[in-house]
Symmetry: C2
Subunit: 302 residues, 2 copies
Amino acid sequence: MRYGIIGTGAIGGFYGARLAKAGQEVHFLLHNDYDYVLRHGLEVHSWQGDFKLEHPNVYRDTHEMPPCDVVLVGLKTTNNRLLPDLLPPLLHDKTLVVLIQNGIGVEADVQQMFPNVSLAAGLAFICSSKSEPGVVRHQHYGSINIGNYSCRDTSLIDKLLAELREAGIEVNLVDYETARWRKAVWNMPFNGMTVALGCQTLDLMQHPLSRRLIWEQMMEVVHAAQAMGVPGLDEAFAEKMMQMTDDMVPYSPSMRLDWDFHRPMEIEYLYTRPLQLAREAGCPMPRLEMLEAELRFMQDNR
Amino acid sequence: MRYGIIGTGAIGGFYGARLAKAGQEVHFLLHNDYDYVLRHGLEVHSWQGDFKLEHPNVYRDTHEMPPCDVVLVGLKTTNNRLLPDLLPPLLHDKTLVVLIQNGIGVEADVQQMFPNVSLAAGLAFICSSKSEPGVVRHQHYGSINIGNYSCRDTSLIDKLLAELREAGIEVNLVDYETARWRKAVWNMPFNGMTVALGCQTLDLMQHPLSRRLIWEQMMEVVHAAQAMGVPGLDEAFAEKMMQMTDDMVPYSPSMRLDWDFHRPMEIEYLYTRPLQLAREAGCPMPRLEMLEAELRFMQDNR
């Protein structure tokens, strides 16, 4: 299949580069790094092995890109207002758009912009960052879960899964709601708390009170998801997330990096939307609401 | 009556100086400021009028101080471990010790150190600070509520109230539990949140989400106090605290000053103890527990 990558950063850059390395036709949209990557290529420094695409197909404008069968969107959700302008040139009748983005409510909003487009969620379990122009650092993990949101042609999804696997990526097809809310179990505590306390994941795990707080915040997400009837979330899953974080290198989640580099934080989809849904389901999340308030305050007063 | 002041800072210094100015015999324990005050006197710069005690009775060791009828303790609770050493020389059979200190559980712990001493709580509603040696700045308010904890001779309490009033201080006799928990309605949100967000009281009032959070935290205290059967706490009182803070100059509560000046924060009596009592009463305070976790994390990782 022909792939388009919107947002060639830590996420889109990594999965796009792996697909290209495996022989797929991949077209990358770049912004700041365009000139550098055109000249020097796109490098991935990965714990699974470094590699480089010498001459990737790079663009600085989607109007020069061909229609694609699959578009991987790796933009920050804070830039999703650009999608009505960016996305149309890449779409044909059956294009599958995979939103590899953080938070809850992203697909609903993008579907409103493009009522007829097939959408899926991509839940990346990966520690990666774009540290310098044209270089993606892939520090840990790397799997991706795909949740079908509105794609009727499931053979297209199957093909995507097969081609990702051929590219050496661990991939699973998961229930859409389950996948998004499972991801929130980790994302909601760690993204905000590392910003609020100016620390990394492991610091939060090592102090007894912040560790307990992280656990309580995880359980708020689990209980809200259960109240909404989302299957597959329970205490055992939260325990797995705690264990995984204990085993992880000390890590700065994407919101911490956004804060450090003075970029807007993805508060809307990581906090505001799921908090609202939980409230509507009669199961509010007080500690995560407090965290949202702290983050909004920090962003608005910096 | 003869007064002893343990901790001649923003609080003890202010009330002690006002009593001395009104003609009472007052003995001040000083630490860092001893030499300065001995030479230059003790100044109060107050919105109600500046004044100076040219030659106050100052000491650097309580063993040189006379027994007193009333001892006002203005120490930080983080220094209460010093009381078994500091207090005995000032005590006679009927000495009343007034703890003008922050938090919940202070009297219980001091009573354990001195089982036979008469204790009262002093709840200072005052914006004041010790900005430089020998100078107390009194910016706003100034009233004090006295709650009797274990003093059987109520005429002693009455006399204290009368002498404070003669010194121009607004003073009220209040129910001990009510007074401590009412103070917590303001103290618990604002002390910690100004540290967690590195701001002043008015900043928290002006952002819609932090304002809502402050209100929710106030209501956590109100509900916990109600669950414990403490009279005099309701939504109307919390509304009064919101209104008062709106009307106040932008203010850094004592915990914010402690943090800024790298002093230990009074987390134990301002958070840990009331949170524990609320939990035991079946009415936990999740947002304030989260705040305690953030503060402990900050203090232990600085």
